[in-house]
Subunit: 336 residues, 2 copies
């Protein structure tokens, strides 16, 4: 492939002059600019990012690490990240951890090889041990999105998880439900811990208690939520309402309801966190606590780019976005 040297020869100028034209990094006469541009067009020259990155020490690459791109929530993150980064002249590297901490580390290692300029990280664990591993592997500006990790003092963009759970629980209790089960995500992930603790608080504020046996662990997995809900709902003391702490788990519960031929909201009310794109085609349309994921992602990227250009250390600052309760048809007053 043609190199900058070929362009220089063709345009009859020095290599450094071509570089100056391409990057507008030094004044060049109009005449020369034109000659260089013509030469570039004629021989079809395209910059070699690797060479540029090597010499300039700037890859202009952003790593985006998500649990699973197949989840619409995360594919939206990927899409928005790509767009915002591209506008700023960066390329994104989107990778899936599959909720596996070792895979997360492997990906971080790859990101390091690529010398990414920054990282958007939706981590699979939040404990201090994981944080320590993270800190030893990450040496670029990083922003957590949706969750955060102990001992890893990066900036974080999250939902107001406390309010999210309160919105759902208050709504359910307000409908008269007293026996509510919570389908919980992966233990040890901040997102889940915060949502769960907020549930407990919300119950307590109503003078009620969220019993441990009404917390069904499902690891954010659709299948595990299905299995857990199946057992829960088949028992004769089934709850009157279920609150699922993430979109995939909400779907799992819905499937369990359907396979047991239980009516929703007739027999059991259901509410989840994270909105669905076409709720009306579901049976029934599910009420949810939605998070403004597009705005959150934009904010995360902006924060990251800011940190990259300003070169100032992150302060571990947390920005919270407000959740929104969207009432549809999956919850009814108890005993109806």
């Amino acid at each position: 492939m043609a190199t900058i040297k070929d362009v220089a020869r063709r345009a009859g100028v020095a290599i450094s002059t071509v570089s100056a034209v391409i990057n507008r990094s030094a004044p060049v006469s109009d005449d020369v600019i034109l000659r260089v541009q013509d030469a570039i067009r004629e021989i079809g020259y395209v910059q070699h990012s690797a060479a540029k990155a090597l010499r300039s020490g700037n890859s202009r690459l952003i790593g985006v690490i998500v649990p699973d791109i197949t989840n619409p929530h995360f594919s939206t993150v990927a899409r928005v990240a790509e767009k915002v980064c591209m506008e700023a002249g960066y390329m994104t590297f989107v990778y899936n951890t599959g909720e596996d901490a070792d895979q997360e580390m492997r990906i971080l290692q790859m990101m390091r090889m690529q010398r990414v300029a920054g990282l958007i990280l939706i981590s699979t664990r939040s404990d201090a041990a994981h944080g320590a591993r993270l800190m030893s592997e990450i040496n670029v500006p990083t922003v957590f999105l949706g969750s955060y990790v102990e001992e890893a003092p990066f900036d974080m963009i999250t939902l107001d998880e406390d309010r999210a759970s309160h919105l759902a629980v208050d709504y359910l209790l307000g409908l008269g439900h007293r026996d509510v089960a919570v389908i919980s995500g992966r233990a040890g992930v901040s997102t889940n811990e915060e949502r769960l603790n907020a549930c407990r608080r919300a119950f307590a504020e109503h003078g009620l208690e969220l019993r441990d046996d009404r917390i069904i662990p499902a690891n954010f997995s659709q299948q595990q939520a299905y299995d857990g809900a199946l057992a829960l709902l088949a028992a004769k003391d089934r709850p009157t309402a279920i609150f699922a702490l993430s979109n995939m788990m909400t779907i799992g519960v819905m499937r369990a309801l359907l396979s047991l031929k239980l009516s929703c909201p007739g027999d059991v009310s259901l509410i989840g966190i994270d909105d669905f794109e076409w709720p009306e085609i579901m049976n029934p349309p599910i009420s949810v606590v939605a998070q403004p994921i597009v705005a959150m992602t934009e904010c995360a990227i902006r924060t990251l780019l800011d940190q990259i250009t300003s070169k100032k250390d992150p302060v571990g600052h947390r920005t919270m976005f407000p959740p929104e309760l969207i009432i549809r048809a999956s919850c009814a007053p108890v005993g109806r």
Copy 2:
């Protein structure tokens, strides 16, 4: 960051020896291997991909270009591509065209800058003019997935589109439907043209005709399918069945049906191409012609890697995968 030079100094060997150890590219004594490995660990050395790519002329990067990662069909492609490539020691660059040919070209340009070793391309147009532009921009092994482009003689992995449409049309006609509307994708995309032409043929084989005014263009867009279906279904001569040529358009039709309070399959039968992940939570579960997208993607990547390593020119060979008719609850005999 530490470089290979630091490792060499620390281990007391030459740079080239360190390289030999890292890449197992030349025989090195066990003693030295150990010393080098220790040194690498101690100073936390990580290879610099850009430098490696520059010198070796091999980026070990694969570009994956999809219309919209937000569509579950394509996020599956991305996920599978990432996995298979990673196993082969390649990294993937996933990018969205947003169904825009100019954006597609811009992305190709970026891919070229990155000197990707190969490309998986789901193109937004199939015409010869687009093919010509493509050929002028692409200079690496490329495999088309799902669609192909005229005048761009790369290998292609697709569904057996003819059979896919036949499966759906034969099923509908077999149920007695005579007035069937087809929601069509973007004109000029091979996938859509083939599906549409196969529809016409299938009708003809039954001695029927698919009238042009029963072909509703919707550009593969959910919203356009919704709008089109709304107009179609609000008219007093509405069809008794609808065949939507892609997953998003099927959803659009479903929404139209619901918003008009039309019963499916009572009033109108509906079938689509592409399966849904949790059909049972839809109302009703929609019958579809499914494509084996995971296997297709794996095949595409394998074909590509093969071409990259064998360095032989593509022959424009087409591999077709069989569709599968999955009957659920959205189609009923006519007049019921």
